[in-house]
Amino acid sequence: MAVACASLPALLLRSVEERPDAVAIVDGNRRVSYAALWGQVSAVAGFLAELEIGKGDRVALFLENSADYVAAYYAILLSGGVVVALNTATKARDIDAWVRHSDARLLIADANHPEYAAILERVDAALPIVALGLNAVSDRNRYTWSQAAATPPAPQHPGDLPEEGLAAIIYTSGTTGNPKGVTLTHGNLSSNTLSILRYLELRPDDSIVNVLPFFYSYGNSILHTHLAAGGRIVLEKSMLYPAQVLNRMAEERVTGFSGVPSTYSILLNRVNLAQYDLSSLRYMTQAGGPMAPADVQRLTSLLPNVRFFVMYGQTEASARLAYLPPEKLFEKLGSIGIAIPGVRIEIRGPDDQELAPNVAGELCAHGRNIMHGYWKDPETTRKVLRDAWLHTGDVAYRDDDGYLYIVGRATDMIKSGAHRISPKEIEEVVLELDGVAETVAVGVPDPMLGQAIKLIVVPKPGSALDSRAIQRHCRDNLANYKIPKLIEFSESLPRTPSGKVQRFKLQ
């Protein structure tokens, strides 16, 4: 299929040519048509060309979801550059670490973000920055977004982008000292986009209110699938004000909605869904960790005409690996479904051999959506990518009908509110405090978040450290969702005879 080799900008251009006047993005009061979006993408690509940013050059994005984010993202791809979209919930020290680790040649950042000043203090003074939200800049190497978006377009064409060319790096669940950057090619992103389009049956008349951040792979896939389908994405900042999100869904007559388990938990527990006119809604999707079957049942009974897709994936797979067809939702409740089109999934034992049905092993996946590795980290890459099969670290089994069920994780990773968090990252920050001798972070069950973060601290003798000082230090240095909710002080940590901390005993 020739179309499967198309890059994301090529898929966007097809929508632009077929539906130039249709609305692509609704951002507050701005309604950006496909033609206008492409105009902005071309202009910013022209600006990047003026800075001589081209093939393989990394450009970091530190922007909330917005029409400008979308224009910047596609402009970088069109230029042959590599998008490094950074988590805007995090703090300056991580941003600086990622910008340096990716050797970004340019940073496009929101000057109104609370971390912006701290970021400027940390990053290399010679790093060029495009600052959104500023009308003028005085320093050399600083540009306004208006400047970038008013540049004459460059002659790039998406047809020139190679399938194997690097397109994006997504930093995920590493530590500041050892960032973990998932590298995705044009072929990875476009093949996953086309596969999702197929099973969700997205069409040009589809539209969505999106509350998920584009810097994560789930939100990223919503963006790309809708632009490739020629649909409309209505941006809402978050689920902070759920009634606002539902009013927007009703006003815009959207056909789709996507969330993580906590999104649906908020909808079920804080608002009365029956009060809103959601008659245009055709489907909903859920990913980002297991959703309680009782919540699935409540939601589908409140919205009986809406198809509900349970999905599963990883950033390392561009986004998506499996989905449960809605017609199987109750027959296979609790399952993550079957492999998406173009992906093969096997459950493997420790010797990498495929296991029989109903036997739990590691979920492994193969397909054109699987990443090419972690940026500058061949050792970790070798651990998860063997013979072009991704070893997800998730323990699962396949039933007699071929449906997959996740039963646990083979790693210590914490999954809280759909964020994948390395306990080491939290421990590294807490150990910076003087009074801490040892510490361990673990995930404990939480009805809203799936897992909440619990920290066990062994204080140094005579230390007067309290929970609040630890949480404050975490708040200053970590994204808010990584701040431990529970802190316990202990004289020692449980260990194996060989000295390894037994994390499971602390959960």
Binding site: A243, A469, R472
Partner: protein
């Protein structure tokens, strides 16, 4: 303790982990200043309902009512739950 102080103290203790009152201005936006996420906002709503004996309705969960200490105080005064 005044209503405004109760709200400020709750936010400072639970989300900014300090009792330094200067860390949170009365008009600071919880969203813009990255103080609360969606689950944090839910916790704040549960706190308001418990502490002030009110019920926050769907259509009242909007930034105008909840996005700063002052907005919450004014909202509570309108609801009559500030006593």
């Amino acid at each position: 303790m005044s209503v405004e102080n109760k709200i400020r103290t709750y936010i400072l203790e639970n989300y900014l982990f300090t009792d330094d009152q200067s860390m949170l201005g009365s008009d600071d936006s919880f969203l813009q200043k990255n103080i609360l996420d969606s689950t944090g906002m839910l916790e704040v709503i549960y706190f308001l309902e418990d502490e002030f004996g009110i019920k926050v309705q769907d259509d009242e969960m909007i930034p105008d009512n909840l996005d700063s200490v002052n907005r919450i105080s004014a909202f509570l005064a309108r609801k009559g739950g500030a006593a």
